[in-house]
Symmetry: C3
Subunit: 313 residues, 3 copies
Amino acid sequence: MAAEDKWKESLPELTEAIVATYADENGLHHLNRRPLPSREIVSDLVHDLLDVLFPGFGRRQNLHTQNVEYYIGDLLDNLLDKLSQQIRRALRHDQSKRLEIIDFEGIAQKKSVDFLRRIPTLRAILKRDVAEAFEGDPSAKTPQEIVFCYPGIEAISIYRIAHELLKLGVPLIPRMMTEYAHSRTGIDIHPGASIGPAFFIDHGTGVVVGETCEIGEHVKLYQGVTLGALSFPRDNEGKIIRDRKRHPTLEDHVIVYANATILGGETVIGRNSVIGSSVWITQSVEPNTVVVLEKPRLSIRGPKLNQADFYSI
Amino acid sequence: MAAEDKWKESLPELTEAIVATYADENGLHHLNRRPLPSREIVSDLVHDLLDVLFPGFGRRQNLHTQNVEYYIGDLLDNLLDKLSQQIRRALRHDQSKRLEIIDFEGIAQKKSVDFLRRIPTLRAILKRDVAEAFEGDPSAKTPQEIVFCYPGIEAISIYRIAHELLKLGVPLIPRMMTEYAHSRTGIDIHPGASIGPAFFIDHGTGVVVGETCEIGEHVKLYQGVTLGALSFPRDNEGKIIRDRKRHPTLEDHVIVYANATILGGETVIGRNSVIGSSVWITQSVEPNTVVVLEKPRLSIRGPKLNQADFYSI
Amino acid sequence: MAAEDKWKESLPELTEAIVATYADENGLHHLNRRPLPSREIVSDLVHDLLDVLFPGFGRRQNLHTQNVEYYIGDLLDNLLDKLSQQIRRALRHDQSKRLEIIDFEGIAQKKSVDFLRRIPTLRAILKRDVAEAFEGDPSAKTPQEIVFCYPGIEAISIYRIAHELLKLGVPLIPRMMTEYAHSRTGIDIHPGASIGPAFFIDHGTGVVVGETCEIGEHVKLYQGVTLGALSFPRDNEGKIIRDRKRHPTLEDHVIVYANATILGGETVIGRNSVIGSSVWITQSVEPNTVVVLEKPRLSIRGPKLNQADFYSI
């Protein structure tokens, strides 16, 4: 027996030991079930939809008034098939414990068409988002640069797609889409959040917008901002209660600077307010309020320090 | 001579000038050396291993009790070859200054088999991680959603794989794996950290867990949490001393909220303690302690402010 | 008519409704225009350039003194074509409103060659960056590990490439490159920032370095650090004024620890200073200053707390 074969002798034993751990019905596996939506196809769908929302900025160049209808018509034809197939999978997975026969295919097709009917409205909202970004960021040279390069616009666009699908009752896929955006941009917006138009996130890495946030119009967030929950209420058995408002409300024209943290379902930041950088806040503030941190204590040391000693405090 | 050729005339000169900078033996190159592990194959291995750990959630759908053994057996057969080839490269690179003849192939094969023997134990730990995540996050609808969508579970799973390889004495590859997870999730866990079961990271972007952290059971971290080092001790020649405990210890049932920073190798956060959002702490705290920031100073301005003036403080 | 056909009946109507929204000349589209640079080719160019800067660490293994000149010569030949094609697209897009005839091809070729002439200088700077990283991070085992695994070095290298292209007057592509790095590493360095050699970013997720920052030599940043702007000055019409220094200056040998925020164009952090973790600062500090947060208020609670109550403060 060759050396390589000897080493491979352990393969059956390894396989058996691992497969034995799959027997537990509550284990970490997805065996004997209808397939989940495909991560690859869902992220492909996201790019198709971004092409529809921002034609000429995406994968297909050289679009013009004469050819764009053919391109979009063909793209939508494919998109309808892929989207309704993935929605069908998500619905079947979600309803796998029900016994009655459900026409998942018909429902998925209807939801796909209903979703695409909302594209013109989505484009009108995104137009206001892009205008707000250009108005608010001095380092942007043109609005085109914002659509083409800004991760904030990418994350917001994908959130708006996912939010519409969630409102149509599509399970799983909205979360897959926003997690795809999260992976690409570091911006984590739950598809359940409610966010008005003219929304802008600059830089964006580390931003978290929780499921039950309510955000008005013309709101601007910087990197590292958390709109999160305080402690979670629990029922008599100690289980956390889901589906309650746990995240803050930001009224119109609020600005939240880098790394600020706003927590709690009853926290309301009044309109025109500004939450300064690194502020941590769990209480409501009136409209037109500015909240800033006090200046830090300065600890000054002599000019001949060894760099290694600087931070040993 | 065509215009294009004229422009390309500078090619030999450009090449020569650049290649001349490679002559320095201490330069930024990896010439005349055995190949490093391949980034592409290592990230492919990560996905193979996630398929083994969570069958049916990954690249292969439609697995069931009857076909899963064939699929896993075949996957492991390929995985053993790829893993032991990459470990061989990593070992050879790490030992490139030694003169004696070492059976890198045999050692790599043994380490690969030893690693795969630990998969059932890893699955048992990950089961507790997933249960903790579902118990702790009201926005998760099913445990399947957590395995399928949560970047925290992806980062923890890849850390647990990498940590086992590190314990088996595999160089470089564990760090490549956790940096792959870092790139995808924004969660940076050093493979050397020691982390108990039922560990959960929510949202996760910006989390840093340092090399010498010790984390107990049932610990929960939110986005932006740093478990880091204070200043680094240096030897008599001013060189930093490596391999000393530089990062904090978190006992069982500790929760650390968003953007908190805990620093120092002698810092111990006692069991059941809670470190609040945005807290910066370099000292130990007793068990059952809650550490929170004071409320921020409120600076309130009149209702007729120009938005541009809000933040000029 | 088959069921599938019936469902697809809405396709022409959907297409028409969406395409109608493209008519607005100020809409979110890029129709009837010269093509933008390609995201895929620009990210491919980044990897080609990283191969030239760090030969043997990238996509091509087994390089040695005898074959490296052929490999690099061939790579540069292709790189010149791709780079000058993309620069031509970026220039044409930027100048699309001018009427005179411009030799975009010739200008793009010249800029490409000029850029590649700077590679040896870039390598000399990057050598100092890598040395600083190895000197400053106890968890790195070898300098090779830093080049091969550290996202900070990847982000800094891509920033240095982008910054040279920006100085040569190349539009759009520098920002595309740094946003590509941002997506991979969570580190967002504007290509316009000016950064001296021996620069190191550890971990890096959430770092933001603004367009008009000036950073000296031997500066070290940790994860989550923002070097940002205060409010933006506006002209008489209320439009923000672009192209003014809005971001801070860090002199030589400054260290900024995790999640600190330094804001304002007139803020200067004097040489040898240290800004502690989570500090928020908008004023200048003298050389050799250490700025740290005060210790947080400790709120200690009894040993029999229900975990759900811990954070309801």
